[in-house]
Symmetry: C2
Subunit: 191 residues, 2 copies
């Protein structure tokens, strides 16, 4: 594999486990098998690396959301898939969504990275608002209230449930924290 990609992969794993301040070029160098000075050839500064990391992550996530949105499914099924994204991102209780992991050490981040993070949040909320709006029409989700509030509550629930599960290193904590939310979603139809 491409050294550059290997570095990004290694950095993503580390960042999602330990946050931005929690990984160093020395870690990456050991992990990838080159010297730390060589990393600067690919990413001149750590801020450059972080920016590309978060951009790549946001793009991948946005693709996943677009993929879900395009499916010919109702609101409940889209939200179930959304829930699955956050469950999978936990990697069994060891990792967080990169944006949650970066949200903590926020003050260490460069302005461009913060900008991507904020966009990620705004896009997520907009996507959720859209899905909740369609769910209100197709009646596949019970008790849908104000769309903006639903979207923010859902995002908060995902991020908080990740923190709880990560703290306990136990994926089941995520499932329990999101059980009531999942119960609002009408069952998947058996095609």
């Amino acid at each position: 594999m491409d050294t550059r990609t290997a570095l990004l992969d290694s950095a993503e794993r580390a960042a999602r486990q330990r946050g931005y301040d929690g990984f160093s070029y020395a870690n990456l160098a050991r992990d990838v098998g080159i010297r730390k000075a060589s990393i600067h050839h690919h990413f001149p500064t750590k801020a450059d690396l972080a920016l590309e990391l978060v951009e790549r992550y946001a793009a991948t996530f946005a693709d996943a959301l677009a993929d879900i949105a395009e499916r010919p499914s109702n609101g409940a099924e889209k939200l179930r898939a959304y829930l699955g994204l956050y469950r999978d991102a936990l990697a069994g209780g060891t990792q967080l969504c990169l944006c949650v992991a970066f949200s903590a050490g926020r003050e260490s981040l460069s302005p461009p990275v913060l900008a991507v993070l904020n966009r990620f949040h705004a896009d997520s909320i907009a996507w959720l608002e859209h899905v909740f709006a369609s769910a209100k029409v197709d009646r596949s989700v019970s008790g849908v209230g104000d769309i903006g509030a639903e979207a923010r509550a859902t995002l908060a629930l995902m991020e908080g449930a990740q923190l709880i599960a990560r703290g306990a290193a136990d994926l089941d904590q995520f499932n329990r924290a999101t059980a009531a939310f999942a119960a609002r979603l009408s069952p998947a139809s058996r095609h």
Copy 2:
């Protein structure tokens, strides 16, 4: 004020803004007005400081929960007060609950600090389970399902809503994310 207390206060502010890795003895020294070497007289290592910090915070929080629990109020009013604790902890969008702030850089923390953090979470969940159980009886909260799931979902919602509000540096984001939850609580009676 006591130098020791001033150091703890300064450290708490810094930690809740920037996480464990995000503050240093140099910061505290500048803030409190002594030299950084002097801090070691009060707290030999940073792990010692962090432990006392998190213990003090957990104790204060536990007192607040006990205070709420002892009030002659129904489940809804207790949960409203709980919500208020997390809203106030945001300090208008600039700070997180210490346990949320520490949850991120988890891997940097010493085992004793992690232990206090885990106890904090467990105690919070137990407290919430108890309140939801009583709310099920007094019918002051709508649609109460499984107690354990309700408790974990509520904790996750608080923590996630804090992250969202902090990211936007806007307290109102917290209110919006928790609006649906607040709407489940029966209105406060006018004595």
